[in-house]
């Protein structure tokens, strides 16, 4: 009973948050809603007994990713209106729904016909974190290491990409200055 209430509550909240994220025109609202949604999702993980995953969700998403976005947004002129030309809404919603339903069907079919056997069954009596650790560092060790390398690469890439010309900030520059700088760049390209 408690589980059901929690599920429906968080389901409602998550959907609402994400809905705001994709519909609002204010980037700040969107970011906030997204962060909230992420946290609500972690709730599902706790309900499902994946405690460690839930923790990671909160730490990575709500902590790291959202912080990154927040910092990133400081570079952009978030107040500026991005013109959102709307196409045919019906197509968009239709396509999305169909794609989603199909995905579910595909995933659900083997489940419904019950021919899945657990590859790495949960060990009785061990905590979720312990189990995860056992599997992660045995069977998934190589992917885990690769993921680590990938994260490192991504981090360096992010720094290098974003760190170029950190001394200049378009938001702080006057329009004339910007134009002048652009002309300079164009000249370089032309030469």
């Amino acid at each position: 009973m408690f589980e059901a209430i929690a599920f429906y509550l968080f389901a409602f909240l998550t959907i609402a948050m994400f809905y705001i994220t994709v519909t609002t025109s204010q980037a700040l609202y969107a970011l906030t809603a997204l962060a909230a949604g992420m946290i609500f999702i972690s709730a599902f993980f706790f309900i499902l007994g994946a405690d460690f995953l839930g923790a990671v969700q909160i730490v990575v998403y709500s902590g790291a990713v959202m912080a990154l976005y927040a910092f990133g947004m400081m570079f952009f002129d978030t107040t500026r209106e991005v013109k959102e030309k709307q196409g045919n809404k019906l197509i968009i919603f239709g396509l999305s729904s169909v794609a989603a339903v199909l995905l579910v069907v595909i995933f659900a079919t083997p489940i419904v016909s019950d021919n899945i056997t657990a590859l790495y069954p949960m060990t009785e009596g061990a905590g979720n974190t312990q189990e995860v650790g056992m599997v992660l560092f045995t069977k998934y060790l190589v992917p885990f290491e690769i993921a680590a390398v990938m994260l490192l690469v991504a981090m360096i890439a992010g720094i290098v990409l974003a760190g170029k010309k950190m001394d200049q900030s378009l938001t702080l520059m006057e329009e004339d200055e910007i134009r002048h700088m652009r002309d300079e760049q164009n000249k370089k390209v032309l030469l």
């Binding site: 059901a4 599920f7 389901a11 998550t14 959907i15 994400f18 809905y19 994220t21 994709v22 980037a27 997204l34 992420m38 999702i41 599902f44 499902l48 007994g49 994946a50 995953l53 990671v56 998403y61 990713v65 990154l68 976005y69 990133g72 570079f75 952009f76 500026r80 991005v82 013109k83 959102e84 030309k85 919603f93 396509l95 999305s96 794609a99 989603a100 995905l103 579910v104 995933f107 659900a108 489940i111 899945i116 657990a118 590859l119 790495y120 069954p121 949960m122 995860v132 599997v135 992660l136 998934y140 993921a147 990938m150 994260l151 981090m155 992010g158 990409l161 974003a162 200049q168 378009l170």
Partner: protein
């Protein structure tokens, strides 16, 4: 009222749909990234749910890797976004048409 796997799958579907809507209709590149996060998360929910209901940890493992990938994606993506913004002073999808065939 028992909450079953199907509930989670339906929830995941709805979230996925919302994510797709975002991907398709937002023109702000930043919003696109947000929508992508939604997509990834909706999948994560199903992974976790399946993992739970089948007593198999593989689902959770996948969820971990998805999160790792999402993090890398954000890092690189944001970096590129900043470079783009510096160059063009906008992050509008409509303006990115150098791939016109």
């Amino acid at each position: 009222m028992e909450i079953g796997l199907n509930h989670y799958l339906v929830l995941s579907t709805i979230l996925f749909a919302i994510g797709l809507v975002g991907v398709m209709r937002r023109k702000n590149l930043l919003m696109l990234f947000f929508a992508t996060e939604i997509l990834l998360n909706s999948v994560n929910i199903s992974f976790a749910a399946i993992s739970h209901y089948y007593g198999d940890l593989t689902g959770q493992m996948f969820a971990f890797f998805v999160i790792a990938i999402a993090a890398s994606e954000v890092a690189v993506g944001l970096g590129l976004l900043i470079v783009w913004h510096k160059k063009h002073n906008n992050i509008d999808l409509e303006q990115m048409s150098t791939m016109r065939g």
